[in-house]
């Protein structure tokens, strides 16, 4: 057991956590979980079986604190945080998703066909090129030097607004580790989602822009893409960044605020959840492999990073070192709170 800055957690513990809620560590270093955190319905399917790795944040927790915010309305993307307010189950966290982070998930049984969402990075409606200068609307350029984020818990929405669990899979048809897609603008092969779903017509796709609380609630090292090489692991505490952006604006920052340079959107274990994204648009899953463009608007991210937000109680979870969080982290919290008002993702287009 590692004692550091007043917080105890196990080192490299590997345990099968059945049932969850608030975690604690036994003297032997084995994770146990007590109590059930309140939870909402979420929209994920969860997972069963597989290997669970990690340790959990041993705090009082804030089960049931998540609130539904926003909804998937309009032509593009609606979003919200967490889910809400329903009774807990033994296996779900406060966000309504599996309270444990499972690496190896089995494929959902039944006949399914693949559909791919090709992620198109955009800035003000034009293609956003990684590593090159991109024109800004007000003049000047933005050079994208780093853009990474997680997408998880993908579901499709059918004609009756029911959420249909899908498999998030790799090019070989295997489920992505932890049910997570790691997007890295520098790696073209990462720019997309590939799912397996029942044949049919759907009205949209939903997912988390980030990780479930169950996956965010880890200290022990996890495998890729939840390792330090993702550049999204908080370096000194539990959890992860959900989105990391860095870029260089080549015009004076009077054109764009300093947050145009870097935004690190993270979460807080048991309290600040990954934003939920709901993207409306016709999606057909058929025998013929389909590929649909899914646009990502960086300008919406930058806008959200400057919109009003409540930072009164914002703090990194312990055992973060002393000192205030950086401006990029605060910008990220502005973004996280404002995602419901933004249209970061949309379907369609070339």
């Amino acid at each position: 057991m590692l004692l550091r800055k007043g917080i105890s957690f196990t080192a490299l513990s590997i345990s099968l956590i059945l049932g969850c809620g608030n975690a604690s560590s036994t003297p032997e270093g084995r994770e146990t979980n007590t109590g059930g955190a309140a939870t909402g319905s979420g929209f994920g399917s969860g997972g069963t079986g597989g290997t669970v790795t990690g340790s959990s944040f041993a705090s009082g927790g804030t089960g049931g604190a998540a609130q539904a915010q926003g909804s998937g309305q309009g032509s593009g993307q609606g979003s919200g945080q967490g889910s809400g307010g329903e009774l807990a189950t033994a296996s779900t966290g406060p966000d309504g998703f599996p309270a444990v982070c499972v690496n190896s998930l089995p494929l959902i049984p039944g006949e399914r066909e693949p559909v791919a969402f090709s992620l198109k990075l955009e800035l003000n409606g034009k293609p956003l090129i990684y590593g090159e200068n991109n024109a800004l609307a007000g003049g000047g350029t933005l050079l994208l030097s780093n853009l990474r984020f997680y997408i998880s818990e993908v579901t499709l929405v059918d004609a009756s607004s029911q959420r249909v669990p899908v498999d998030l899979v790799d090019s070989g048809g295997h489920r992505e580790p932890y049910n997570v897609q790691f997007v890295n603008a520098e790696a073209p092969e990462s720019l997309g989602l590939r799912v397996r779903a029942p044949v049919g017509t759907y009205s949209g796709v939903e997912f988390l822009l980030g990780l479930t609380d169950g996956c965010n609630n880890t200290f022990s090292p996890l495998d890729a893409p939840l390792d330090e090489a993702s550049q999204l692991k908080w370096p000194h505490t539990f959890g992860y960044l959900f989105l990391r952006y860095e870029g260089m604006v080549t015009e004076p920052l009077t054109i764009m605020p300093s947050t145009a340079q870097k935004v690190h959107m993270g979460g807080g274990v048991h309290e600040r959840m990954a934003p939920k994204i709901s993207v409306l648009g016709a999606i057909t899953v058929a025998k013929v492999n389909a590929e649909l463009p899914l646009k990502f608007a960086l300008d919406e991210v930058l806008k959200g990073a400057t919109m009003p937000a409540d930072l009164a109680n914002f703090a990194l979870p312990p055992p973060a070192p002393p000192g205030p969080p950086g401006a990029e982290i605060l910008a990220g919290e502005h973004l996280r709170q404002n995602v419901p008002k933004l249209t970061i993702f949309s379907l369609g287009g070339p």
């Binding site: 057991m1 590692l2 004692l3 550091r4 080192a11 490299l12 990684y130 590593g131 090159e132 200068n133 050079l143 994208l144 030097s145 780093n146 090292p221 996890l222 495998d223 890729a224 390792d227 330090e228 090489a229 550049q231 692991k233 370096p235 000194h236 860095e246 870029g247 260089m248 080549t250 340079q261 870097k262 070192p321 002393p322 000192g323 205030p324 969080p325 950086g326 990029e328 982290i329």
Partner: protein, 358 residues
């Protein structure tokens, strides 16, 4: 000077590393005698635990086509010290990767055969098994196996075609026997690279006091080192943006403010991208106190200089990453930060007899 791949050569800085030119003197009279002939038991190279926080076992980092075995790692160790792998038989991998310097080169740039100079600093070799984003300072090769042959052929390093290197090995019965044992074939270009990669893969450093601290020994660091750790992982200095808590590298490529107009363009030379100007690999920092000089070009002689470099926000070129921002430290804080960096030293790694030429 044209940029060329180098073998297991160091190249290191507090931001970005790769391997580089290195090669130099320290000509080791290569013992052509395998362990089996020496009849001296040697510690196993491959039976080691992963450093705390590194994902996956050491064995799991090896590609399926080059499974990590003791015989392969030991063969690689012999090759690592083999001067016959250079055209003039002057230098070996170890010429530029000295164990006492955590397998880095204490010279700013390394020196190959006939005194030829490289252009980048040869980095330390600890824990490269877990690197996934490419080796050399600019990440231009994907694997240890691919990397291992580059310095042998590089004109500024060992300058020996791999075919000739293989011919030399095949003329030595003891090598033929060792390759047969390890790879069930006589020496080939592939197995030569694979064996070298196996040894480098086995260079695991996990016994610093910081490692003990991570693993739960709260007394492993003294108060000054703990204060330094807090500074290192604070938003104030921002070191953690690239040097993560456990692996001490985010495995990425960043412009750390060392680029100056006309200088080494780094990763841009590989990708051609505007934004990759002056980007170099982020090195892991275990044993950083022993791997001076620093940065990809060895231009900063001491860790104190490195801290000063970052404190002033780099050298001022606009290509500098936005995360490199000036900060202020008083003398005591700087001493604490240096103390923390010193706690990353793994004394066992520096003297472990299993890494020594045999």
């Amino acid at each position: 000077m044209k940029e060329t791949p180098r073998l297991l050569v160091k190249d290191r800085s507090v931001h970005g590393w790769s391997w580089q030119p290195a090669l130099g003197f320290l000509v080791f009279a290569c013992s052509a005698t395998p362990d089996a002939v020496n009849l001296k038991p040697t510690p196993n190279l491959t039976e080691v635990s992963s450093p705390f926080g590194f994902t996956g076992s050491l064995a799991s980092t090896a590609p399926a086509e080059n499974e990590l075995t003791e015989s392969r790692a030991k063969l690689g160790r012999r090759l690592f010290f083999e001067t016959a792998l250079s055209r003039t038989r002057e230098v070996s991998c170890s010429s530029c990767h000295e164990q006492s310097h955590a397998f880095a080169d204490p010279r700013p740039v390394s020196v190959g055969i006939e005194g030829k100079m490289g252009k980048r600093n040869a980095p330390g070799l600890a824990n490269l098994a877990w690197v996934r984003t490419g080796l050399f300072w600019d990440g231009r090769v994907a694997s240890l196996e691919e990397q291992a042959g580059k310095p042998i052929e590089d004109a500024n390093e060992m300058d020996l075609p791999l075919a000739e290197a293989v011919a030399r090995l095949n003329s030595d019965a003891s090598y033929v026997a060792e390759f047969q044992a390890a790879y069930a074939e006589p020496p080939s270009e592939l197995s030569l690279r694979q064996a070298l990669a196996s040894f480098v893969r086995a260079l695991v450093s996990s016994n610093s006091r910081y490692d003990a601290f991570l693993a739960g020994d709260s007394l492993a660091l003294n108060d000054s080192e703990k204060r330094g750790s807090d500074l290192f992982f604070s938003s104030r200095t921002g070191c953690f943006h690239c040097h993560t808590e456990r692996t001490l590298t985010n495995d990425g490529f960043f412009n750390n403010g060392s680029y100056e107009p006309g200088g080494d363009i780094g990763r841009k030379g590989l990708t051609g991208r505007t934004g990759d100007l002056g980007k170099f690999r982020v090195p892991g920092l275990r044993n950083i106190a022993l791997t001076a000089p620093y940065l990809h070009d060895g231009s900063l002689p001491t860790l104190s200089d490195v801290i000063d470099h970052y404190a002033k926000g780099g050298r001022g070129d606009p290509s500098t990453d936005v995360q490199i921002e000036p900060f202020e430290l008083n003398a005591a804080e700087k001493a604490d930060l240096l103390a923390f960096l010193g706690a990353l030293t793994d004394q066992k790694f520096l003297t472990d007899p299993k890494f020594v030429e045999r």
